[in-house]
Subunit: 325 residues, 2 copies
Amino acid sequence: MTADQGHFLALSGGVGGAKLALGLSQVLPPEALSVLVNTGDDFTHLGLRICPDLDSLMYALSFRANQALGWGQEGETWQFLEALGQLGGETWFRLGDRDLATHIQRTQWLASGLTLTEVTQNLCRNLGIKITVLPMTDDVVATEIICQSGDVLAFQHYFVREQCQPPVLNVQFKGIETATLNPAVGALLDGRSDLTAVIICPSNPFVSVKPILDLDQTAERLIKSAAPVIAVSPIVSGLAIKGPAAKMMGEMSLPTSALGVAEYYVSNYPGVLDAFVIDRADESCREAIEALGLQVFITETIMQSLEDRKRLADDVMGFCKSMRA
Amino acid sequence: MTADQGHFLALSGGVGGAKLALGLSQVLPPEALSVLVNTGDDFTHLGLRICPDLDSLMYALSFRANQALGWGQEGETWQFLEALGQLGGETWFRLGDRDLATHIQRTQWLASGLTLTEVTQNLCRNLGIKITVLPMTDDVVATEIICQSGDVLAFQHYFVREQCQPPVLNVQFKGIETATLNPAVGALLDGRSDLTAVIICPSNPFVSVKPILDLDQTAERLIKSAAPVIAVSPIVSGLAIKGPAAKMMGEMSLPTSALGVAEYYVSNYPGVLDAFVIDRADESCREAIEALGLQVFITETIMQSLEDRKRLADDVMGFCKSMRA
């Protein structure tokens, strides 16, 4: 890629989005890519501030992601957790020994007065990450799952402790009304700097992308921005590649398909999306998605290898280019 | 031992004192032994409340002490610390992966409103420790080393970070004026329950025993108590078995010998000690120590094996018995 391609902004949740973000980081010069990351999943556990999506991003971008587990760090060990269990501590959230360093150092830096953006910058620098990783906000936003039973669960309690079992009625984001969008992204969206395209990574629409869009009029700012917005479907052949997106869609009476995701974005955030990237397996949805007013791009969207990540990133870059032409 | 032997109170610092405390725990029924532990070395590091002497005690008493290292837990690993170093965190205090569980759980329980005594009780119960381990106080007392250079160092900064290199002028205990002695021990010393003898473990007199004696008139309460007080010398043949005691004695112009320790206790805490246990290697000090008004007992005081610990504990029990007879 050349420098005249300007700047790309990717919106991402955790593991799924991180795959495309890693691909993008491999095909774009570092100064041309910012990733804006959901922080609604963040929580304080055992006194430590844990930011699962930021961590997934950082571990992926620094080639530390544990491929076998699908989360956490490569070469992770569990001595701490075993000892904690012996002491009667809470072990449902599986904190690895290496992972703990991230949470302890983050908590320390936050306590010293740094913003989450500054902390993330420090962590990225020390992990050798050259692209810009930004938390969606420096304020505290907490995703809560409203269960069909009426229970309201903090996201990690739903996601990890309850293993996504409780049927979901809806999702809410505590604190979102007063939270401010990361100022670096505000500048990009409000045209104060050059923005080529916005890429919504294949992340969970309800718990990963929605908090970003709902925050501080981000959706409205995306509509006003001159940059095209292109989303990659997290659903392929009716299945979520990772996480509870498909299960949640069923429970929330949305069609569990790439089309269902497109319909969700178009009906809840009309005018935000310009294009939608679906897998070849979902080619039959093309016309229905086009009928929603979206340009449709079709390619292989399942990313298993690093090469898959880079290829999809290259494809998405190509789609962006064709949209601007 | 039989139940009519009443209750023994051991005063202890960390590793050195823990050896005798473990021996005592093996030769006394659990309900007959309380160990009162120095908390002056405690500090908050990386947001975690760390109590090195309590931890040494607990790890020793639960047979988790790392014999090779001489501190920390057996089978310890260092993944956290390595990852923390990569993130630019402070690694001078070597926190093991298993050890971290103790600090994180303690910090959590303290934050939830439990006292350090209650937290220690929880930790001991979960580690399977049956004797009573008591922090000297639930208040915060912080040992500080006044260096000959004029610098004042927090104890762990002196002990671990600076590896005891700076010559010592004196030691002070921040917060000691207003700290309250652990109430369970107050009850023992003030005759509200049966106390057979007080054993001062072979711990550093200046940084491990002194804070306990200086706290809330503990020295005066020991004098008033009917129970005999017997101290085991931490110096054998002019050398400290563990830690900087001998080096500090030299720097503080005290004779580096078992006699020097006895003189220190007698001149600074007149009337507190009734008897002093020295190693056979220091037999030549006997008369000089007796001249200080102390009964002297001689035995092997170096504890390498568990058998050594039990034998010294048995010997000390015998000495206590002979003193009461």
